[in-house]
Symmetry: C2
Amino acid sequence: MAQLYIALIHHPVLDRRGKTVTSAITSLDIHDLARAARTYGAGGVFVVHPVGEQRDFAARLLDHWRLGHGREFDSRRREALELIRVVAELDDAIAAIADSTGTRPVVVYTSARAQDGVSFAELRQRLAAPGAAPILILLGTGFGMAPGVKDRADLVLAPIRGPDDYNHLSVRSAASIILDRLRGV
Amino acid sequence: MAQLYIALIHHPVLDRRGKTVTSAITSLDIHDLARAARTYGAGGVFVVHPVGEQRDFAARLLDHWRLGHGREFDSRRREALELIRVVAELDDAIAAIADSTGTRPVVVYTSARAQDGVSFAELRQRLAAPGAAPILILLGTGFGMAPGVKDRADLVLAPIRGPDDYNHLSVRSAASIILDRLRGV
């Protein structure tokens, strides 16, 4: 079975007015994504941020759980946080996956506004195929990735849908649902 | 199709050592659950807390989004937060659902540690059956509900499973996955 990775993108993302901005790293995103990734056997979660101070913040947060007080507090959190890698650029995540698996990952863009795209069933099947390349799912913070990020991707994933057209899930919810749809038992 | 409701339980819940405690309401749980509930067409989310000051905190948070600054900031959040009701006891949630639907809900206990229980497919079918009673899903904060809460429920839901035995999702992730499995398109 191919390895599944997630990249949490903080730039370029949209704000509520549709302007391209850089969002801040939040500890809760890291915790929730790490726990969901660990639950579904993902290979890793890349926290992608172009600003060094923000990456330092994330590194301190991880150190707290790896080495500091958090280490004693809850070993299951620590185990999940071992999946987190903090990088400056999407290319760093792609290179790290290629290094550790020997194969460049298939990069998958996600958006609540996607008009169509590969279905979850199809991507799940693709992941399960013998010898399949690893897959890297891009998730946008803020109000989603700037559309230009799509040009960096090999595939677009169909949007998550409920019974009507409201679709404004948190990135924590979207990540959890995507992992469950692709790897849930 | 029967209405689906969620109750977020803050007491009695377990801490990491298995001691029974009362957890604090967090704004992020409310936002994430409201957005997921709205996406999947749920009838409402009950934030259940026995302490008046904690319910007041939740009410102020909701007022901010209904009436204050947040109202202008993002109408999609406001729309989702209209699903939130803050109550003192589980019985208040059950009574409110019975009032608004005319039928006492089927109360469903959830736990990452559940040994078995009704499957997601079975509960989804049950929700879709003509004339079915509304369903109220209980979700525990902290390290999950104290086992005694199970005695208040009509059904236990099977745990969410990934490919191995790690199961330590956040309540935000668990709520999102449960809604998707029961109502996703």
